[in-house]
């Protein structure tokens, strides 16, 4: 009897996370047949890629849980990357966007602070339009993403930004451990801190509970005394800060920035969240789920890369995974009705 219940449990876990399970199988398969897949190098790579996407997805998750969305995420990441890049350029760098008299070389932590403030302001604008002017989030962020991209082009003059301070690059690409052995990138710790922080906000604070309540039934939440407007406003401000942080880190990770940076990241983040079980009909979603969703997406990319699939096909496969994952996920809820 006892043995049966264990196998039932395993079956249940597989059944409730089919895509995750398939990907684990696929990566074991690839690991066995393709050399170097199971290496510290590819693990570190996976962690670094996932970490930045995870920060963006954390930001978007709040919007999705309240039945909203944020299409401006990717452009906000790009804008933050460019601002950080310009402010952090070495004074001695020949290709500076602005001469050192106009914008002096700044301490990278002051730059981080500036970038986060700008992210918060953009989030505040999104949140204000959505919560007070009642413009649907899809339309609001469709508009602001275009504006942010425009601002970014103006700010960079569409030129690539390079020549960063070494300490800045080291902050992000730095690692604990040996280069050719076991190592953990700093990004892992940054992502972990924010993962825990968000778990705390979502599960332990009024803001988090109100967020789920709004997603579950906005009218009922309002009638129950929840300040729905301010809760929604806060969600978009927090999201803006997260995109800014991701952008700041992304520029350092890439060693350069340009206006096109971050393009399409909003869709990856939304896809990661939905794969991870954040319901598009609102009220449902967990931080571990978001992490799994983003991880699955990044793992998929690496598997395809190691299999030597023509990169053009990657998009087709990724698109299929999004649709199939959500279709399977939704079946759980349909069956319950």
């Amino acid at each position: 009897m006892k043995k049966e219940s264990v196998s039932d449990k395993i079956f249940y876990i597989v059944k409730s996370n089919p895509i995750v399970f398939l990907l684990v199988i696929a990566s074991i398969f690839v690991g066995i047949f393709v050399e170097n897949f199971f290496s510290w190098g590819s693990l570190g790579n996976l962690i670094s890629n996932t970490a930045i996407r995870f920060l963006i997805a954390l930001g978007v998750s709040g919007c999705l849980i309240t039945k909203g969305t944020d299409l401006s995420a990717g452009r906000q990441v790009g804008f933050a990357a460019c601002i950080a890049g310009v402010l952090i350029q070495r004074a001695s760098y020949a290709g500076r966007r602005f001469s050192a008299q106009v914008i002096p070389e700044m301490n990278m932590f002051i730059v981080l602070f500036i970038v986060l403030i700008i992210g918060a302001v953009i989030g505040l604008i999104n949140g204000f339009i959505i919560s007070r002017l009642k413009v649907p989030p899809f339309i609001t962020t469709l508009g602001t993403q275009t504006i942010v991209y425009g601002l970014c082009l103006v700010f960079t003059d569409a030129q690539p930004i390079g020549g960063f301070q070494d300490s800045y690059i080291n902050l992000v690409t730095g690692r604990i451990g040996k280069v050719d052995g076991f190592y953990l990138p700093y990004l892992l710790f940054i992502a972990a801190i924010f993962g825990v922080l968000f778990w705390f906000i979502y599960n332990k604070t009024c803001h988090g509970k109100y967020m789920y309540a709004i997603g579950g039934n906005e009218v009922a939440a309002e009638v129950s005394g929840v300040n729905t407007k301010n809760t929604i406003l806060r969600i978009y401000v927090i999201a803006g800060v997260m995109y800014a942080l991701a952008g700041y880190l992304l520029a350092a990770k890439s060693g350069g920035a340009s206006a096109s940076m971050g393009s399409g990241y909003e869709l990856e983040a939304i896809a990661g969240c939905t794969i991870g079980g954040v319901s598009t009909t609102g009220g449902i979603g967990t931080i571990p789920g978001v992490l799994v969703g983003v991880l699955v997406f990044e793992l998929l990319k690496i598997v395809l890369q190691f299999l030597g699939v023509n990169p053009y096909y990657n998009y087709i496969v990724q698109g299929l995974v999004i649709v199939v994952a959500v279709a399977l996920d939704i079946r759980k809820y349909i069956a319950k009705k």
């Binding site: 509970k209 109100y210 309540a213 039934n217 009922a220 939440a221 309002e222």
Partner: protein
Amino acid sequence: MADYLLEMDDVCKAFPGVQALNHAKLQLKAGHVHALMGENGAGKSTLMKCMFGIYKMDKGQIYMNGKAVTIKDPIDALSKGIAMVHQELQPIPAMTISENIFLGRYPQKKVLGFIPVVDHTKMNNDTNELLKKVKLNFDSKQKVGSLSTSQMQLVEIAKAVSANCKVLILDEPTSSLTQNEVDSLFAIIKNLKSNGVAIVYISHKMDEILQISDEVTIMRDGQYVGTWEAKELTINSIITKMVGRELTNLFPKKENVPGEVVFEVEDFTSINPKSFRHVSFNIRKGEILGVSGLVGAQRTELMEGIFGIRSKSSGKVMLHGKELHINRPKDAIDNGVAMLTESRRTSGIMGVLSVADNISISSLKNYLDYKISINSGKVDNLVKENVKKMNIKTPSSKTPIKSLSGGNQQKVIIGRWLANSPEVLILDEPTRGIDVGAKYEIYCIIADLAKQGKSILMISSEMGEILGMSDRIMVMCDGRCTGFIDRKDATQENVMALATKFSS
């Protein structure tokens, strides 16, 4: 049997937790107006939705001209000559009158002999003709959204007429019409009658019923009470037949006597001139004040106005003699006023969230550590206490509330409000859609709350509930308060009389 154009026999229909129809029947004659009457929730609309194919009957048979028929869906009903004007109107505001009237059956023409397109000219001309026939002075190209509610209702009636139906169901057709419009509706009905159409007329307005109908069928609690010739009946005999049931032992005994006045409302008037106006009342400590009235009496609107969901143009709310300024629900809650809203689904439950989250949502601020972190232990205690005290049947406190029965959902939401220990509790139809057993439990909870000294305002459309629970009854009609009746003087008849005071 062939005497009847349409007959419904032995119809049963159950919804989760309620038996909405219990061996109901209805027999319609061609060229007659048949009034269908009963209290709110007696099953009139449900029976009509079964006839129109919106609901599937659990049991029962429909005969047309003596032959058994099955009606699969509304399209099927329309093709058999049955048309319905719904109680809740559903026109599409952004479309024109003609587009609404012909929705689902647009006339088509072929361009170049083979490309089918909608024939707007024919549609508009037909609509204008139709509007003329029913004496409505609108242009077919006018957007429906630009019409008033009563005008929309007339357009919906025109739409039903245009289907050339044999049976026409009118569910509360006059609820938002002015007297002139009612007259023109009656003219349309007389015209249809002379063409041999059978009309089912659902209304709460007694004098209208007696004026227009030939037969009257009365329903109570989903059951068939009887059918009478309209001329045999009087307003009083209809009321007696509608509400006449045994009320003994359905309600717990209320033990406490109300104390001093706690909560006062003065001259409360809506910003909407057709809604509540100049309503004043007060409520005492430990008192249950029943609020009675017919559908459309604006009871819910008044309470939502007090609670800050709707706007008022004038009026004062006072708690212990101190004026409260309530602009949104949060203000009311912060001042010790709570409200269980009428529709559990749209403004009560948060379906996908757990029972625990649903109970604790409005009192989370009381359970914070260091002003930020919610103390899960304290919240768990609150939830456990409520589940136990109110006998909430749930597999666990983590179960999503939507998988609970209506009665248990209601108890969860009552628990949500009690967690804030309010002084004044507004309950809007607290037992709607709940089965008899759970109803009694909710009555016990309400009586117990009154005993604890809470002041309770209870809106109910069930006469039995109002008479059985209230210390005092406030009756509303047409947005106005028409009177107060003490428990000892209250009868169904005098409540009904106040509730229909302005109904002519």
